[in-house]
Structures are given as structure tokens and as C-alpha cells.
Chain length 198, copies 2
Amino acid sequence: MLLAEKKPYHHGDLREALLNAAEQALAETPLEQVSLREIARRAGVSHAAPKHHFGSLGGLFAEVAARGFQRFNAEMIAASARIHDDAPEAHLRAAIRAYLRFAANNRPAYGLMFGKRAEMENSPALMAAGAEAWTRLENDAAKIVGTIRAPAAALMIWSCSHGLAMLILDASLPPHLNVDASIESIATMVIAGLKAEV
Amino acid sequence: MLLAEKKPYHHGDLREALLNAAEQALAETPLEQVSLREIARRAGVSHAAPKHHFGSLGGLFAEVAARGFQRFNAEMIAASARIHDDAPEAHLRAAIRAYLRFAANNRPAYGLMFGKRAEMENSPALMAAGAEAWTRLENDAAKIVGTIRAPAAALMIWSCSHGLAMLILDASLPPHLNVDASIESIATMVIAGLKAEV
DNA sequence: TCTCCTAAGTTGACAATGGAAACATCATAG
DNA sequence: CTATGATGTTTCCATTGTCAACTTAGGAGA
């Protein structure tokens, strides 16, 4: 025994530790080579331990994604609250900025949230969080184009934001384009496009 | 021996057969559980055979993606050629339609082409095909907004198209939205947005 | 025609993975 | 104080990607 710390049999807060280890691993390693065992290793725990908290690797990933959605929704709401301009366009522009900032700052979670890995389908928490985000977007859109055209407008906003996020995160963006400037110009074009007759 | 067909030791055109088997497998099974061995099994060949044609699973996927880009570029050019309207907006609308039709009809390849799996980086054929597509898009955009604003416009078009494609392919589209109508309305809004001052 | 040579396939091995089962440890409700 | 359930561990299994060594066949050159 000596002065060696006796590792307790129970971790204390393994669930949290595993989620952190997973996010860290995802930040350092491409998704497809992050393994359950590697995550367990990082948390200093046997490879079968995660099974008791999440049923499978997919379950763990689904949980990471769900947490991502919590942060996502919170940040989007906060960003909107910071805007004191009454014009709905200002809110929309802020939302697009916040969306892309989130994608950049939460790269691992973002990939899981919108990447649609087959193994983590059917997580009710995920579906709910996604639906909430969509509803909020439609409400914002309704303030600009009215209720009737809101669904189409929301789709437009989401498509552009998500598409741009993918291009930026994948580094598929042509190198001569500046990221921040691209975000601003896309936001401008999206807002202008929404006002078109459809 | 009897009447049983003697299976020849050499397949004849295994390379092609493997690519087809891969696409078929990808169409039936989620990407992450398509294995090299499964593909070899479908082609009726030993599990190590693919190594001689593609070095690894990533190499095989890269080849599938490269083929996808060939079809993609061909279809985009053909779609543009079918439009006899001189208005550049008409060409752009046709291009957006063609893009999404390709995504829908080539689901497995599309995922590989734009999904950016880490294991198939650095395939020169892939990079070249992607760059070609991007250049063509910028040229189309230049006809609408001029050379200077063409890069930003191209980014807008690609983001919206790609984002919408992801939403449709992932079935993340809210169920109350019609796919074809969504494509048309997004195309309209994109074209309107391009004309905004930036 | 005979002989190599090499591309194309095969077999067998390896370490790593996700998952299941059986077991160990502990915290705490009664 | 004890039983019970949650939390971890160990062991095992089928499957995977990759490698090395082997076999086969189809031609090119003598």
C-alpha cells in the first residue's frame, strides 16, 4: 500500500468522466476511429464499464449529441437575447452567427448532432432537442416572412447555415475565402432571399 | 466436377465487381457497418482480394467517391446543356435541381463524396474532381453577380444546396415539407439573395 | 514451345474492436 | 446488520482491417 493512492473501486462520477473523455477523444481523433475501449481507457476504467451507463457506443455518442443540443439551444437563446434591435432581421443575423460560432467551437458534438450516425437513431432526447431547435427557428422566420411562409424560410436558413458549417468544418472551403466574411455575406444573402416572392 | 461450374481462379474484372458490390452494400447498409470483408463476400471473393486493387477500405471508398464525382460532373454539365434559356438564372436553377437530383439518386456515393471520411483523404483524383466542380460553379455564379462577387455567390449556392441535400438524405426534413417544392422555393430564394448588395 | 515473371487470388495469422456473461465490490435502505 | 441493486471488472466470442506467405494463371521473351 505504502503511499500509493488506492484506486477506489467506484469512480464516483464515471458517467460524466466518460462523456468528457469521449468529447476529448473526438476532438483529437477522427470520429470513425474513436472506440469505446479508447474512451474507457482515457477515463481509466475497464472497457466494459461504459455499458452500464450507456448501452453501447451508439448510446454514448447519442448522449454526447444530446448534451450538445442542450448547449446549442442555450447559446442560441442567449445570442438572441443579447440583440436589442427590434428588427427581426437583426435577430436572424445574430442567430446565423451564433449557429456557426457554435459549430466552430463544438466541432466534435456538432458532427454527432447533425451527422446522423445510424447507430444512435431513436434517442428520444435527441429528437426532442432537434425539434425544439427547429420550432424556434420557424418562429424567428415567421416574424420576417409571416406564418404561412415560415416553414420554407426556416428550411432556407437551416440549409444555408448547416451547409456552410459543413464546408467550414471539413475545411472544404476554398482557401481564398475568409471564414468570418463568408458568414456575414451569406447571412446578408439569406435575409435578402427570404423576402423574395415564392 | 460433374456439371458444377468451375470457378475460375481469376475473376476477370474484379475491380469493377468490387466497386459495384461496395455501392450496393452502401445502398443497403449504413456506411459505418459496411466492411471490406462484406464487400469481398458480395463479390464472391476472398477477404484479402480487394487489397490488390485498392490498398485498404479507405482506398476503395475513395474510388467510389471519385466515380461519383465523374458522374456528378457529367450530369451537371448535361443539365446545363439542356437549358436553352439565355438567362443565367435559368441555368442556376437547373444546376440546383440537378445537384439535388444527383444527391437523391446517388445516395451512397454522395455521402462518400462530401462526407469527408478521414481514411480517404489525399486522393488526388478526388481533390481534382471537387475542384473542377467548384470552378464550374464559380463561373456560373460570375454570370449573375460578376467576377468579383462570384466566390461569395458560389459559396452561397453550394452551402444551400449541400445543406438541403443533407437534410433531405438524412430525413431530417420536417415531415410537413414537400421535397420537390422545397427545392424550388430554395432555388428561388437563393437566386434572389444573390442579387443583394454585399 | 518452354520458361519465367508478375498480376491476381487465397489462406492463415494477428491485434483491436463491440458486445455478452459471469463475477466482484460497494453504498445504502430496511 | 444485512440483503439488494447499482457500479465495475474479467473473461470470452465473433468480427473486423491489415499483413505475410502461398498458389494460380496469363503472357512476354527466349
